[in-house]
Amino acid sequence: MPIRGGGFQRKSKAASQIPTCSMADIAFLLLIFFMVSTAFRTERSRIIAWPVAEATEKIDEKRQNIVHLWIHADGQVWINDQLVPIPQVSNVVAPLYVATDRRLVVAIRGDREAPYRFVDAVQKELQEAGAVRVTFATRLEQMVTREVR
């Protein structure tokens, strides 16, 4: 008579299955972890007409080191949901520059129709505050007429 199990007797009492009853708890735990740890930027987006550019590239900097500076077509400048008169921009940006350990990147989100005098005045204020790393926020052109290099 052949021996069952090829001579090996299974005496182990340990279950060979992964316990599945706690799987739901694990999944909900993960769900809640991701929900809680997601930090949202509280700043409201402002409505501007974006300029487009083909050379648009991603900013290689941590999110918390980027400050948005909105320039409306009528010359209003908003930083962190606050209307800032242009001569005050350096006073607002300078503490942010220090707080980010001099790694601040100012993303200028200008309206495409904003006269350049406002953009220039803002640039001079940023230079005064020492925040020389600037990005002109643009949208990638939808119609790709030239081939990508």
């Binding site: 599945t20 799987m23 739901a24 694990i26 999944a27 909900f28 993960l30 769900l31 991701f34 929900m35 997601t38 300029p51 487009v52 550019a53 083909e54 050379a55 648009t56 590239e57 991603k58 900013i59 900097e61 999110r63 980027i66 320039i71 990147v105 993303a107 200028i108 200008g110 309206d111 495409r112 129709e113 904003a114 006269p115 350049y116 005098r117 406002f118 953009v119 220039d120 640039q123 940023l126 230079q127 005064e128 020492g130 020389v132 790393r133 600037v134 990005t135 002109f136 926020a137 643009t138 949208r139 990638l140 290099r149």
Partner: protein
Amino acid sequence: MALLNPKSKVSSDIPDASMADIAFLLLIFFLTTTVFNEEKGLPIVLPEAAEEVAVSQRNVLHIIIQPNGIVEIKRGESVQVQQVRPADVEAIWRQDVAANPNLIAAVKTHPDAPYRFMVDVLDALQSAGAERISLQILEG
């Protein structure tokens, strides 16, 4: 006798065997639908305050942006003015930088010119690989 049949086969428990599947489904749904708004743009480093660098006029390509979007190109001290469209700046830069690798693009924008023309020119210059760009306002 009693109207309620105690032998009903319908289970009174909420089925919890599929709870894990539901939770993972939610997890995967939220993971995939989260869109990070990426920061995109044209980077440039402004000169430090009060930093004046004397540059030979030979190495400067003046790019003057007028309010109507016409771009005027002036090479160094030459009085000759070439009127082009913002998109043509790329070809001009490529051609000129091949002749003079030390070339600096001085973008001078008229105060009344819309911001987008400056972005167009900056886009053209960065598309052409220009790194030495100076942004100024047109005076006088």
